[in-house]
Symmetry: C3
């Protein structure tokens, strides 16, 4: 099978959309495609470490954003029917029942399969997120890098 390239912009931080993004990315990687996921805005929340990380030099607005946004895959909520977190819990439970990998494992698998995960540096500035607050194994880049990858890919999604 030919190796082709795919890119996915993960703009959303909704649990269900992030799951969909990783299922597509892992499916493509399993078919030997080169996959780049570019995390921007709320999508960065899927890459946050669950523990609080001390940082310095954030502006009050950046601190407020960082404090209010979910820390990592375990805290993401649903785009619909979230009901203060109950919906997301329900979806996690039914995924377990149906033997679908939890999001944390989907992320690990993506990394093991060589999916390139890029955190958008401009979005990090806006959201007030520092590299030390994000998981290991990421690259850091901007829109020019995304466009370079997208130009070589045959499937480019915005999620």
């Amino acid at each position: 099978m030919d190796t082709t390239k795919k890119t996915i912009i993960v703009f959303s931080g909704d649990f269900d959309k992030v799951v969909a993004a990783f299922i597509i990315a892992n499916g493509a990687a399993a078919m030997d495609d080169e996959v780049t996921m570019f995390f921007t805005f709320w999508g960065l929340n899927a890459l946050r470490r669950p523990d609080k990380v001390a940082t310095t030099g954030k502006s009050p607005v950046q601190k407020a954003f960082a404090a209010m946004m979910p820390r990592g895959p375990g805290k993401l909520t649903l785009s619909h029917m979230n009901f203060a977190g109950a919906g997301a819990k329900m979806m996690r439970r039914v995924m377990r029942q149906q033997k679908i990998m939890p999001l944390e494992e989907l992320i690990d698998t993506a990394r093991e399969q060589g999916v390139k995960m890029i955190a958008c540096t401009m979005s990090m500035d806006v959201m007030g997120l520092r590299a030390e607050e994000l998981i290991d194994g990421l690259e850091y880049a901007g829109v020019a890098s995304y466009l370079g990858d997208a130009d070589e890919a045959n499937v480019n999604l915005f999620i």
Copy 2:
């Protein structure tokens, strides 16, 4: 005109987004393109039969999801300004006034034009939806099938 291929992932079950997806799909099919629509997560709600269908063997969580989610195109709500359904009603009314096909006909037209409509089996498991609850004329497949179609297409959208 050359026949080219298009794929659309319909992740959203918002009335307005589903309408947009079918207008693009029907437009492309009218230009002789081969179009595949791949319905995942909330997008499956657009394919539900409006009447309640008896099913067995669902887990309580699957039952809860199925009970709370809208049944078919007539029940979908807006992504913005829904106001407990009033916004969606307004949009349906203005579409009639402007002689735009209602969503039900957009779906029928897509089928008549040979648009391939695939229900994502993994999402059906998560949402607790069975084939007998969905409209006729669908195919059932997973992410590998989507990626196969997307690899041959020149336009791939995630809606």
Copy 3:
């Protein structure tokens, strides 16, 4: 560098998503790509003039939609954590702090760089928006025009 083509459907009228769309569009235009942005549904709100424009012949439903929807980039709200506008204000402030162009300038820059901005005429009918309510320099077209551009492009996003 080869000139290639890109298309972006701007369906969303959320401040954060519209910003993302223009950052991608301007980035691609800066790399000499031909970029077409196709504004549909809520995305049209980003193109509204901030001042009220007298129009005639709108149906009551169209008037209601037009009255309730935000007028121009300064009024758009966030897709998440909007808190009655406070979130959008926070994001505008942090963009200023980080020396990121405000949305109004992103739109001007797109125009100066020759990004083709198309307002979807069918959506204008649904939302009850007239050309005189939208900013200058737009083209007006429908889905067939979009599909023609997308067929020639190597990156096609739906935002």
